[in-house]
């Protein structure tokens, strides 16, 4: 991440701006950029959302599909994340260039959503022990302008909020159960996403902690802490990224910065 090709002088400039709590675009260290959130924009999906965070642009579509349950957990439905790093976003994603970043983002999302309270997994099960809904969450990166993980997680949550799962009726037959999907497009249920986490990344630039870093700022930071947080204030996934290391106390501080953004998951 962060390949804006900055010179030493530019880096020093950003470092100083963070020191003064007055960043290049006029924000303070703990200010997010203006965010645009749009839902229900692709009619072919069951739920979709688009998030624009300054230059970062992410589109998410969710499709639902009926599949046999996982024999290890026969009473719940499943979520799967796929990230498509389109070469439109940055030339670096051409060919297989974006694969690594894509799998990192999907791994982080998978972990953040891996706890039982994330969404109501039980409501995603159609027939316990047999059929459940599998939600394919497809993320398309349209433009990268820093803070990808946060933008993606917000878009995913919004798309899940927007999700319409068709109601299925079961009729018991001799020798089996038949599943019927209703034709009425308004016969659907929503998914409860109040417990769903979003990811907040705190970058360490110099000795200061910065949220929602732009691409330039990301290049100046040697280490960042990514946390999946829920509205209730619990942490559902944590990961350190970047080539630098962190002091244990500094991690606590960064986690605290994070908890100050707990209002965010409520969006």
């Amino acid at each position: 991440m962060g390949d804006a090709g900055l010179s030493e002088a530019e880096k020093t400039f950003i470092l100083h701006s963070v020191q003064d709590d007055f960043r290049e675009d006029g924000r303070g260290n703990e200010d997010f950029r203006h965010m645009e959130l749009e839902t229900s924009l692709i009619s072919n999906t069951n739920g979709s959302a688009r998030v624009r965070l300054a230059n970062t642009d992410v589109l998410v579509g969710v499709k639902v599909q009926l599949t046999p349950v996982d024999p290890e957990r026969p009473e719940v439905g499943r979520l799967e994340f796929f990230i498509d790093c389109s070469a439109n976003a940055t030339p670096a994603f051409e060919g297989r260039g974006g694969e690594e970043l894509g799998s990192e983002i999907s791994a982080m999302l998978t972990r953040a959503y891996a706890f039982p309270g994330a969404v109501d997994f039980h409501s995603l099960c159609v027939l316990p022990g047999q059929q459940c809904w599998l939600l394919y969450v497809d993320v398309l990166l349209l433009e990268c302008g820093g803070n990808l993980f946060d933008a993606v997680s917000i878009a995913v949550k919004a798309a899940l909020f927007n999700l319409k799962i068709p109601n299925v009726t079961m009729t018991k037959d001799e020798g089996g159960v038949e599943l019927d999907l209703s034709d009425d497009p308004f016969d659907f249920k929503r998914l409860d996403v109040s417990g769903a986490p979003i990811i907040i990344t705190v970058n360490k630039i110099g000795h200061y902690h910065v949220v929602d870093a732009s691409e330039k700022e990301e290049e100046c930071s040697l280490a960042r802490l990514m946390l999946g947080v829920t509205e209730k204030g619990t942490i559902t996934a944590m990961r350190k990224e970047g080539s630098g290391s962190l002091d244990p106390n500094s991690i606590s501080d960064m986690m605290e910065v994070n908890t100050r953004f707990l209002c965010l998951p409520g969006i």
């Binding site: 972990r111 891996a114 559902t236 350190k240 290391s245 986690m255």
Partner: protein
């Protein structure tokens, strides 16, 4: 899964016999003694050895009771692709569970969990290696888990850092990793696979804590090089268990030092 044409594949419909075996549940919150007889704060004994793979530049083997991991380091070797050249050295990591290492048989191809773990190991080691000393070259780390009985990630990180050191790669510090599983108000240090499994299946109330955390620590610089957590945890509990993991890493550090001193002595004995 794409069809594997270069291996002998068995019938598609086979199942593990354990799928049909009765399950005995382990309740972590009502635990006075752990299944292996440890107290909840006790680490498993650590066995470390270097020089286990004769063909590698450096290698090591770690054993934490039933968790067994082997790691080999090759390089620094020349970067073959021209576009990959950089003035900083590159570190690559390949993390693999053997097919027989877990209770359920694993696939030969690297799955997404293994890819995720490769990245985590890499991120834990990168801050410790003086990569600027190895321009235009790459160092390859290969980690194979022979047997997985919990805390495989922390074992792999510790093992890999010892392998790097035994390969003579210049480093700022060793990396020691330690993990903990949290269930409700109980924090289990160095969990086994059975405990990790029970945690996944535990039916805790929504507001309760259930999760695990792994910390990689640079003991003499007193810096955390990687931290990763899973499951739903509150800020205070996570912070507390992180401190506990850091303290445990400090405890394990002398074992690593001792192993490397022994490694050096063996080298010198071999020379003279």
């Amino acid at each position: 899964m794409p069809l594997d044409t270069r291996r002998l594949t068995g019938p598609e419909s086979s199942q593990s016999p354990y799928n049909f075996a009765p399950v005995n549940k382990l309740d972590l919150t009502q635990l006075d003694k752990r299944p292996d007889g440890r107290s909840i704060k006790k680490l498993r004994p650590l066995f470390l050895r270097t020089n286990v793979v004769s063909q590698a530049r450096g290698s090591s083997y770690i054993e934490m009771n039933e968790t067994k991991v082997i790691c080999a380091v090759y390089g620094p070797r020349e970067v073959l692709r021209r576009e990959d050249f950089s003035l900083k050295g590159q570190l690559t990591c390949d993390f693999k569970f053997t097919t027989f290492s877990c209770r359920q048989r694993r696939q030969y191809q690297q799955d997404s969990q293994e890819k995720d773990l490769s990245v985590l190991v890499l991120e834990a080691l990168e801050p410790a290696v003086c990569l600027h000393k190895y321009p235009k070259s790459q160092i390859n780390i290969f980690i194979t888990v022979l047997q997985h009985d919990g805390s495989a990630l922390s074992a792999a990180i510790t093992c890999a850092s010892v392998a790097l050191a035994s390969a003579g790669i210049e480093m700022y510090d060793l990396v020691v990793a330690s993990s903990a599983a949290i269930c409700g108000s109980v924090t289990l240090i160095d969990p086994t696979a059975q405990e990790e499994d029970a945690l996944l299946k535990a039916t805790v109330k929504p507001d309760n804590n259930a999760g695990s955390v792994t910390v990689a620590f640079l003991p003499s610089l007193s810096q955390v090089s990687a931290i990763s957590s899973d499951g739903e945890l509150s800020f205070e509990i996570l912070n507390k268990s992180m401190q506990e993991c850091v303290a445990n890493c400090q405890k394990l550090y002398p074992v690593l030092e001792h192993t490397l001193v022994k490694h050096q002595q063996e080298l010198e004995a071999g020379r003279s």
